[in-house]
Amino acid sequence: MSEVLLEVRNITKRFPGVVALDDVSLSIRRGEIHGLCGENGAGKSTLIKILSGIYPQGTYEGSLRFEGQEFTPRRVVDSERTGISTIFQELSLFPKLTVGENLFIGDWPRKNGVVDHALIAQEARRLLAEVGLAVPPDTVVENLGIGHQQLVEIAKAVRRKAKLLILDEPTSALSEMETENLLRMLAEMKAKGLTCIYISHKLEEVRRIADTISVLRDGRFIESRPAPEFSIQDLICAMVGREMKNVYPRVDQVRKDLVLKVHDWSVKKSRHNPAKLVDRVSFDVYAGEILGLAGLMGSGRTELAESLFGLHPDLCSGSMELKGAPVSFRNPAEAIQAGFAYLPEDRKRHGVVLNMGIAENVTLASLKALYGSILNQGAEEEAANRSIVSLKIKAGGHRAAVSSLSGGNQQKVVIGKWLLTKPSVLVLDEVTRGVDVGAKFEIYKIINELVSQGLAVVLISSELPELIGLCGRILVMHEGRLKGEFSKAGVSQEEIMAAAMA
């Protein structure tokens, strides 16, 4: 009979105007991996913030019990000392410090009163090996990709010897290989007695790794079931409260004219480093189709897209033809004007201006086209409202600050921004990352509609089911080269994976 490690009892958390958690109770058993699912806004993040001490005792109703004792964290440190380690989706690393320094931050091993760097390096190497990250401990964190940074975060938690590890969307930025690594590591740690709360939108992943899955919806606890008894259908149904027949809306794609022709496209690493991030890639994109682009992290997909978009004009070579005419973009403005749009992978950094409103963000890529040189508030409002309605953006009006929107709605704002540029080709880079199930479905429907109206869409994604579900053709990249092309008919995830890994 496994004992209960953490008990959440009747937690209610209110904010001005909204109840974020409404009388939520659940139990986490020792030694289990407990999946927590729910749409954005369901209350998962709030619950995690309560467990990790960010919302201290006193700001919520209800109680917590950890290992049978009352658990009343007043600060994050209290939670950590109790044995709860939380890894948030937004990483909390120090970008200008090294990996080793990040691992030991605030807890430096000392030798004779001076920080023992040798010990740090040694320990860091050991921890990094445990999480499968092969970088030297003196690497500065900001030089690592998001995926590797996340592994450093996990190594940090490993070091803290947590009893309960809470992971918030841990694999959203990881490649398939890194995800495998993480899941294997969690299984190993579970065998050694670690308990884990695993929050993820990737339902198949949760079903695979978790023993029990709990679902929250609109701040309420819906149900807990052993994972094998919780089918994807049932999970989605519990999360969304309605039956979702097709996760990927099925639409026949009719291929029309050739819109984009890329030939022998290469991108080098930097002005001084001729190493190829993209190596002689050639492909065609047609109006009316969704072309998928699969590949692991580091395969060069984003570099390919960004360089076609004009972001790295000195680093690329090869030729590009848009609607039959040869083009060469020296900056994104030229690309946009020619009808080539790119939705960036990193929404917070490259997609939205957080302190501006929806209207200002939506019009940001079309300033000259929409206004000339003098702003027109009427035109701006109209464009914004049109986007809000057609993309079903849930917000408090066109002036709402984008920072106040959920990930899914923010992404819709970015999509709206690119649609307003009236492109012929739209490249979407991880468009559904950090987006909840409901909004994802809406975005898929939007993409299908755009494509049926004649747009050409390139869908860069790390979610194989998404690629197989939506795309007519799927290209696979590996280490900068185009390794294969699959047509939707009958291709399996394994086949794509195989091409992506070799």
């Binding site: 904010f15 001005p16 105007g17 909204v18 974020a20 749409e39 954005n40 806004g41 369901a42 209350g43 993040s45 709030t46 609109d218 701040g219 972001l311 900056n331 994104p332 403005a333 690309a335 946009i336 004007q337 790119y342 960036p344 950094r349 490259h350 997609g351 939205v352 201006v353 957080l354 302190n355 501006m356 409103g357 209207a359 200002e360 940001l364 890529a365 300033l367 000259k368 040189s373 003098i374 702003l375 508030q377 009427g378 409002e381 849930k394 917000a395 408090g396 009006g397 002036r399 709402a400 600050a401 106040s404 929107l405 959920s406 990930g407 709605n409 921004k417 540029t421 909840d436 409901g438």
Partner: protein, 395 residues
């Protein structure tokens, strides 16, 4: 409902109401706070100086005293919004003012030509700044810090340490003359009518997307209060000698720069670059020409300031503009600009300049030692930003 939690989280974390408005709007809170602060200062000064502070003569002096900082701060606020800074404006103003004097005194240039040359030189310096900052990518702080030192040195060099005077009589007009009372009233009348007309147009346009109660009330208040203030201003100025020319220049620049910042694609791009430079780039905004343009603008505005100062002093002095950049930056920050970029308004900056000038002036009238002015300026700057911090946290 599904977005509620995210909205609330962001509200709690970033201190913005879930339906917070556009980047400029958050500063309205600051503007109201600063207006209250201004009125308080005026009230206190009125009492402490037994009414001398609000006499027409003193108010006229007050506005003249703020005009140079006013001119410079409109450009500085744009620079700060874009995520940059310009530390050279004081030294540059001194150098350009000195050049204007030298051209007249040693080269016997006529006023118009001297003005044009000075403005051109300001533009050229701005071009150099812009090129090095935007295209060579040397940080603005460094480039303008270098400029601060270099231009002061250049001024010392060309003047050989001697005050250059006297300037042409027609040149003095820029700094010492006043609009005739009739012209002043006429222009003000036109301005007031335009303000009312634009407010009515805005109300009609907004009628379609009915703004919330508080917004509408604020709109009405602005439509009535501002034209009244404008008229009152001229009437008061006319009780002394009329509206001073430096003030007219400052107001003209404020109007133009306000328009640029709030109503043009250029201005919107500046806010976007300051808010998130990479996102702006990825959205097709050409960052480098815009940053370049901002520094050219700063150069020209420094020239305008230099012309006004030389005209007022009837001389190009060696210490002209010393430490002025600090007042200019403080005015912008008090008015709501954040050194992190992306936030700030031209009107806020002018308000900030007025607050500081009022303090300086009031303390002078009371014959308080000059050093108190410096101390108070420092305190006000910190307090103003702290109030903003408090406001954010409370929300």
């Amino acid at each position: 409902m599904a977005t509620n939690e995210a909205q609330i989280h962001e509200a709690a974390r970033h201190g913005q109401a879930p339906t917070a408005k556009k980047s400029g709007r958050r500063i309205d809170i600051r503007a109201y706070t600063m207006t209250i602060a201004l009125l308080t200062i005026w009230l206190v000064m009125f009492i402490l100086t037994k009414g001398v502070f609000v006499s027409a003569r003193n108010l006229s002096n007050l506005f003249v005293q703020m005009s140079i900082v006013g001119v410079l701060t409109t450009g500085m606020v744009l620079t700060i919004i874009s995520g940059n800074i310009d530390l050279s404006v004081g030294s540059l103003l001194g150098m350009l003012g000195g050049v204007a004097a030298i051209l007249q005194v040693y080269y016997h240039m006529n006023t118009l030509l001297a003005v044009v040359c000075t403005l051109a030189l300001g533009g050229i310096v701005g071009v150099v700044h812009g090129a090095v900052i935007a295209y060579l990518r040397v940080p603005a702080f460094i480039v303008t810090l270098g400029g601060l030192m270099a231009y002061r040195g250049a001024l010392l060099g060309v003047t050989k340490g001697i005050t250059v005077s006297p300037v042409n009589e027609s040149f003095r007009f820029i700094g010492q003359a006043y609009l005739s009372k009739e012209v002043g009233l006429a222009l003000t009348g036109v301005a007031a009518l335009l303000l009312v007309a634009s407010a009515m147009l805005k109300a009609r346009r907004d009628g379609r997307s009915a703004p919330a109660g508080a917004d509408r009330a604020a709109g009405y208040a602005k439509a009535v209060v501002v034209p009244v203030l404008v008229l009152a201003f001229t009437l008061v100025m006319n009780q002394y000698k009329g509206v001073p020319i430096p003030v007219v220049i400052m107001l003209g620049i404020v109007v133009v720069l306000s328009f640029i910042a709030n109503k043009t694609v250029f201005g919107r791009s500046v806010y976007a670059i300051g808010g998130n430079k990479e996102a702006a780039e990825y959205s097709g905004i050409l960052v480098r020409p815009i940053i370049f343009g901002i520094f050219v603008l700063e150069g020209v505005l420094s020239a305008v300031g230099g012309l006004i100062l030389t005209a007022r002093l009837n001389a190009g002095t060696v210490s002209a503009g010393q430490n002025l950049e600090l007042d200019v930056i403080a005015a912008a920050v008090i008015g709501g600009a954040s050194l992190a970029g992306g936030v700030g308004t031209v009107s806020g900056a002018i308000l900030g300049a007025l607050v500081m000038a009022s303090l300086n002036n009031g303390l002078s009238v009371m014959n308080v030692d000059a050093f108190w002015q410096f101390i108070l300026k420092g305190v006000i700057l910190v307090v103003a930003v702290y109030i903003d911090v408090l406001n954010s946290d409370r929300k």
